[in-house]
Symmetry: C2
Subunit: 374 residues, 2 copies
């Protein structure tokens, strides 16, 4: 079975790519103005102190997402090329410290694939994360809980109370808590100050922040690794195997895009995703037997349920024939792929017309063989 990224790579140059969760919508006017300023960004980045550039970019980005107490000033936020490289670094740190991981299930498969190279990984349900029921994980030997919040593909997330409960439970059991918050920008409900909650709980933590899902700027992006004080040295050291610094230019870019985000950019982005989600809902209304799996989700992807594994495969193949690429959901359920069968994931960070075209073709495919007739 191909992994999700391999499937996404096949969709790269296709006419209607609804496969990957990367932002591919048009730039807004104010984002375009930032692109026009690229030479100026480059020149200012060349002359400024790197530490100052890094601190400014981290501060503006994290503040734009409500993370006012992220430990930037304490030099506990590290910049990385991408969130996946950050995850590789976390995997190495977990291995060095002898951890075993309880990883949220389902989630994007590369989290599992990267971590399992280093440490033992077991599934942990969203429900158990939400209720902070770690009894099973602890009994099975887990020493680390790893949660994607908001989650991909479900849109499920930990609200303030749930995070506080989970952090307290981790602290109680002496577990390390890792959060991947790459999709937080899409959901204001997840934008309470995570760091305030984590520090108050006194838990050991690693948070993977990501600029890469938000802005369609040609994959010019960063991951940030924010950690509790006890992990500062270990993460710093392991990261130094991988990089000297990220790009000063990209730091400046992230800073300006974060400022633009606060100045209406995030509102426009969330508006686009919400409108696209409504477009999917409306399209599915007229199609018997397909439904939107997570109507309450706000992330830039959505799942649709088509009934059975066979139907999902038929629809996906029919869409490929019509130049539309979406993802199957089996691989998100990395421990039990069967649980994702019968579902497909559609990307929503796309221009409205492209998505509408994809949905028209989905309707064609769906109606080509009415449910139950096969």
């Amino acid at each position: 079975m191909l992994n999700l990224t391999e499937l996404e790579q096949r969709a790269l140059d296709t006419p209607i790519n609804l496969a990957d969760g990367h932002p591919r919508q048009e730039l807004t006017d104010s984002q375009l103005k930032v692109v026009y300023r690229f030479p100026e960004l480059f020149e200012t980045a060349q002359v400024e102190s790197f530490r100052e550039l890094e601190r400014s970019a981290q501060t503006e980005f994290l503040h734009a997402l409500g993370q006012r107490t992220a430990p930037v000033a304490d030099e506990r936020v590290f910049s990385v090329y991408s969130s996946s490289v950050a995850t590789m670094v976390v995997g190495n740190v977990l291995a060095d410290l002898g951890h075993e991981v309880a990883l949220v299930h389902p989630t994007f498969d590369n989290l599992h694939d990267i971590l399992v190279r280093k440490v033992r990984v077991r599934p942990l349900s969203e429900a158990d994360c939400a209720t902070a029921d770690l009894s099973g994980a602890v009994a099975a030997g887990a020493t680390c809980v790893f949660v994607t919040t908001p989650n991909n593909p479900t849109g499920w997330f930990l609200d303030r109370d749930a995070l506080a409960r989970l952090a307290a439970a981790c602290a109680h059991h002496g577990l390390l808590l890792c959060l991947d918050v790459s999709f937080r920008g899409f959901d204001t409900r997840a934008q309470f100050d995570n760091y305030e909650v984590l520090e108050a709980a006194g838990v050991s933590y690693v948070v993977i922040e990501d600029t890469g899902k938000l802005w369609p700027v040609s994959e010019l992006k960063l991951g940030f690794l924010a950690v509790s004080a006890d992990l500062r040295h270990a993460v710093d050291h392991v990261l130094s195997e991988v990089l000297l610094t990220v790009s000063p230019f990209v730091l400046r870019l992230v800073e300006l895009l974060a400022l633009d985000a606060v100045d209406g950019g995030f509102e426009r982005l969330r508006g686009l995703v919400a409108e696209n989600r409504r477009l999917v809902t409306t399209a599915l209304h007229s199609l018997d037997g397909i439904d939107l799996v997570d109507p309450d989700a706000r992330v830039s992807v959505c799942r649709i349920g088509v009934g059975s594994a066979a139907e999902a495969e038929r629809v996906r193949a029919g869409l490929v024939d019509r130049a539309v690429h979406v993802l199957p959901c089996d691989q998100f359920h990395w421990a039990r792929p069967g649980e994702g069968a019968g579902q497909l994931r559609l990307a929503l960070a796309r221009d409205r017309d492209l998505l509408a075209d994809g949905l028209r073709r989905l309707a064609e495919v769906w109606r080509a063989v009415p449910t139950g007739s096969t």
Copy 2:
């Protein structure tokens, strides 16, 4: 003991940073023109096919370095965020295939540190690489030979005959041959078509190419992984854990900088490094007891020998007091650090005046306590 990158990080915002081997010289006029075109590069990268962009960038870069038969058209060259991330991917592939590695000694310590997380690693001398004497490595159980050529910090390199010999020996013993050629751009003697030699030998190979040491463009860079046909699938699959694609914008940038390099850019770069090496040579002439360790090297770093470990530490501390940062050489000798004691590494991809200032301060430090008086 801190690793080399940690030492380099301390030097980042200091007045005279001669520590890291990243390019920090001023942009040439024609490179600056490319920076002014950033908005245009961005826009063309947005509309072009990703595969075409990637193929063009890889082709122009590899051709600029004499690698005419690199397997771009055969889809055996993969783009990565950086050469270190490429090395992490290679480490995972080596682990999956059950390899044990004979790694050139000395070399930059992060190669060892990344690989040893995954596989067993033993030292292999430059002399044994040059004569293709793999008897010791094979007897010790190595199944893979990993060579940095040109090497960092020594400047030693495999010429065509030596690479042919080594590739033949690896093929004969059934060993995988990995080359890190990040510094090839500085030495025309290493710019014969490596791929022609490797394919002719019929050896399994991985070559790590790197755009990151050449052009001072704010760490906007790529690594490329070029592999023999038998490794194509394994590398493709492992890489898909880490990234969907690199930045189309950075691909365009690399393509334009490669075209500029052919059009005189590489000649200017090599001219700068040669002039800076002469500057070091001249400065050392007047200092009794210090010498240039590798007078024949052409890479963008050079080693100076100061006699003893104690002298090296005294000089490095004295330089730090005068705001000059260089690297000790102990860590390059990752298996036997003592062999690098008494040597320091200076970066040469710097503006002439900065280096000259650093060398003046080196003379002050050196003369402060004449050799033998301590």
